[in-house]
């Protein structure tokens, strides 16, 4: 042969090629995502500078500040529930949104999954569009209909049901509705794909064994769907708890949630360590929930 045979070993080593392909994305995420969170973690233990930013003095003040207020004069700590209420309100709002999304999504997803292929595609398309439409625009649209002189109130007045506009916007109710409106598609779509995989012969078997429709649904369908229900619930709960736009636009800035509280620390009040501490708490809650879900899923997979 004229040329030396091209040996397998003379190519670029596969390990090196793989690293070259993988590392640019990893590096970008590590540098611009993981490192910033590391910095935040550090900042949460520093002292706030008077005009934003931090001073490099160690302090746990950011974390104690969540529960206590330091008196200006005698430096004593007094319990203040203000921030705790905001955290509790966030959890409460997220929980309400999750439960209501479940109640709406289960029948809807089930209904879609049992349609003919054609109808199914149309329904899926209908649900998918809001999923991808700009969240700010959708929140604005909801504010538009809920306003004092918006279509809902006008219609109710025209019908003579009420004489004064109902306070539908700029309150806790509006935030709840906003969270449901924002994240409802997040629940319907995964539930739909879970129902799609449901083995409907189980339902036949239940009827065959004298189950009523109600019993069949609650004793057979829902328990089998449990993993899907949990996954869907988290997909609503997690973005809800850290939500910024819904409370900001629909709550009118009065009824704050933890997301707004964090945002505010980096804008107006400018207490960076406090904002960083709140972020760490929110992140920890989120990651714990996700980790729990991942371990559950892994266990489920092992069982199958």
């Amino acid at each position: 042969m004229s040329a030396r045979p091209l040996a397998l070993s003379s190519r670029i080593p596969p390990g090196l090629a793989r690293a070259g392909l993988l590392w640019p994305s990893l590096a970008i995420i590590l540098l611009f995502m993981v490192a910033p969170i590391g910095i935040m973690f550090t900042y949460s233990f520093l002292t706030a500078a008077p005009y934003g930013g931090v001073e490099w003095t160690f302090s746990g003040a950011a974390y104690t500040e969540i529960l206590f207020e330091r008196d200006f004069l005698d430096d004593s700590l007094a319990f203040t529930p203000d921030y705790l209420i905001i955290v509790a309100r966030s959890v409460f709002q997220a929980a309400i949104a999750t439960v209501l999304c479940l109640l709406i999504s289960v029948p809807t997803a089930y209904y879609i999954a049992t349609r003919s292929d054609r109808a199914k595609n149309i329904w899926l398309f209908l649900i998918t569009i809001p999923y991808w439409v700009n969240l700010l625009i959708r929140t604005i649209a909801l504010l538009f209909v809920l306003r004092g002189d918006g279509p809902v109130n006008s219609a109710l007045i025209d019908l003579g049901l009420i004489s004064q506009p109902l306070p539908l916007s700029y309150n806790g109710f509006a935030i709840s509705l906003g969270l449901i409106y924002s994240f409802l598609p997040f629940m319907v779509l995964p539930l739909y794909s879970a129902f799609e995989r449901f083995d409907f012969r189980l339902l036949d078997a239940a009827y065959d064994l004298y189950a009523s429709r109600r019993v069949a649904f609650f004793r057979i369908v829902l328990p089998v769907m449990r993993p899907g229900l949990i996954a869907g619930s988290l997909l609503v709960f997690i973005p809800s708890i850290g939500s910024y736009l819904a409370p900001d636009i629909l709550g009118g800035g009065k009824t704050l949630m933890i997301g707004n509280l964090i945002g505010t620390q980096f804008q107006a009040a400018r207490n960076w360590p406090f904002g960083a501490a709140l972020s760490m708490i929110l992140l920890t809650i989120t990651l714990i929930v996700l980790l729990w879900l991942a371990r559950r899923a892994a266990r489920q997979q092992q069982l199958n």
């Binding site: 004229s2 040329a3 045979p5 091209l6 397998l8 190519r11």
Partner: protein, 392 residues
């Protein structure tokens, strides 16, 4: 810089290969070795706790122009061997030659070998025509030649009318033909077939066996065929290698393998065998007299040296057990405990002392053969020359 490739048709001085086209392969000397592996070892995950030795010091030579089958149960190493020949799997040690050239470290694209993959691996975004042309294009053949060869290949596998279809619009049998045409188009020196019939249903599989065999004759290309289906192996092959557990058990013609199994494994794996423990009573040259518990002594021709008192296994095919109600030439008594009707034969499951035996009569009861029912006591005899002595 030109990539170093052993082209499917290197041009040996004065060779007729320059004029070669499909169906006109030169007929090399019958004993030319097409491919051989020497002292081949393949260890997966070497050096880890999951290390697995797939091939152990493997030696095999496949002759030019033959339809050669690698036969064995799944996990025996036959597919590993095929993948090593194709260059898809690096070998751990040993050497692999194709027509004399050492190809051990060559990647697949530099080997004059093509493969028909198990699930065909047809390129789904290309038409049948582009699939078949792909290899020729990669070899840098001129446009006109590619077109000519593709047409010829389409004709060869009777797929001309499907030339512009995409693979996913075709049936399993049609895809199979396209995969064959694609692999044959570059005129490989060796065609590797990785269980290509396993995805087809029974009728189609039987039809494709005949087609494959005639394709091999027409093209004169050496086929290396991997299967776990012994019937397939016996039906198509010139020679068969039986592999078990990473080791070569026996190489030979289908008749050799079936009639003269050299190990318990081969006797058991190829067709069905009654395996009976025995002891050598007397041995002289090429004949032995053997003791079987509960039976009269039997004679057998043997090829190997045996010692007195040596324990051996006897292999007897079910169709070569003769059952009769009268004593006649019977060697022992057995009880029928099950009778299975198979259409073209009847199978009897027998118990004789500690031995469980199977006998098969062509259409039991007819043509002078007696039929038996469960519970009957029968006399068993062995057809002359039917006993194979295997070293235990």
């Amino acid at each position: 810089m030109q990539r170093a490739v052993i082209h499917p048709h290197p041009i040996p001085p004065g060779s007729i290969s320059q004029t070669m086209a499909a169906g006109q392969n030169p007929v090399p000397h019958p004993h030319t070795v097409a491919t051989e592996v020497r002292n081949l070892c393949k260890i997966y995950n070497a050096g880890t706790s999951r290390a697995h030795e797939a091939l152990k010091d493997f030696n095999l030579a496949i002759r030019a122009n033959e339809f050669f089958t690698l036969l064995g149960p799944s996990g025996c190493g036959k597919t590993t061997l095929l993948r090593i020949l194709g260059g898809f799997e690096p070998l751990t040690s040993g050497i692999c030659r194709i027509f004399g050239d050492d190809v051990s470290v060559l990647p697949p694209e530099a080997r004059p070998v093509n493969t028909v993959f198990q699930q065909y691996a047809l390129f789904p975004h290309m038409t049948v025509r582009s699939n078949i042309a792909f290899g020729l294009e990669m070899l840098g053949k001129p446009r006109a030649e590619i077109e000519r060869t593709v047409e010829k290949m389409l004709d060869l596998v009777h797929m001309t009318e499907y030339a512009d279809r995409k693979p996913d619009t075709m049936s399993g049998g049609q895809r199979q033909r396209v995969a064959l045409a694609r692999a044959l188009a570059p005129q490989p020196k060796l065609l590797l077939l990785d269980e290509p019939l396993s995805a087809l249903d029974l009728k189609l599989r039987q039809k494709m066996r005949l087609e494959l065999k005639s394709l091999q004759r027409e093209t004169g290309i050496t086929f290396v065929f991997v299967t776990h289906d012994q019937e397939e192996a016996l039906a198509m092959s010139d020679r068969v290698a039986v592999i078990s557990n990473g080791c070569l058990q026996q190489v030979g013609t289908p008749e050799d393998i079936y009639e003269q199994p050299q190990s318990r494994f081969v006797a058991d794996f190829i067709g069905e065998s009654n395996l009976i423990d025995a002891r050598v009573a007397r041995f002289s040259g090429c004949e032995a007299i053997l003791d079987i518990a509960g039976f009269d002594q039997v004679h057998a021709d043997v090829a190997q040296d045996l010692a007195h008192g040596q324990p051996v296994s006897l292999s007897i095919r079910p169709e070569r057990l003769v059952l009769s109600a009268g004593e006649g030439e019977g060697r022992g008594l057995a009880t029928v405990f099950d009778r299975t009707y198979l259409g073209n034969a009847v199978e009897y499951h027998l118990r004789a002392g500690d031995h469980a035996l199977t006998a098969r009569s062509p259409r039991g009861g007819l043509r002078g053969r007696q039929d038996f029912a469960p519970g009957d006591t029968v006399h068993i005899a062995f057809e002359p020359g039917s006993i194979k002595v295997l070293l235990s």
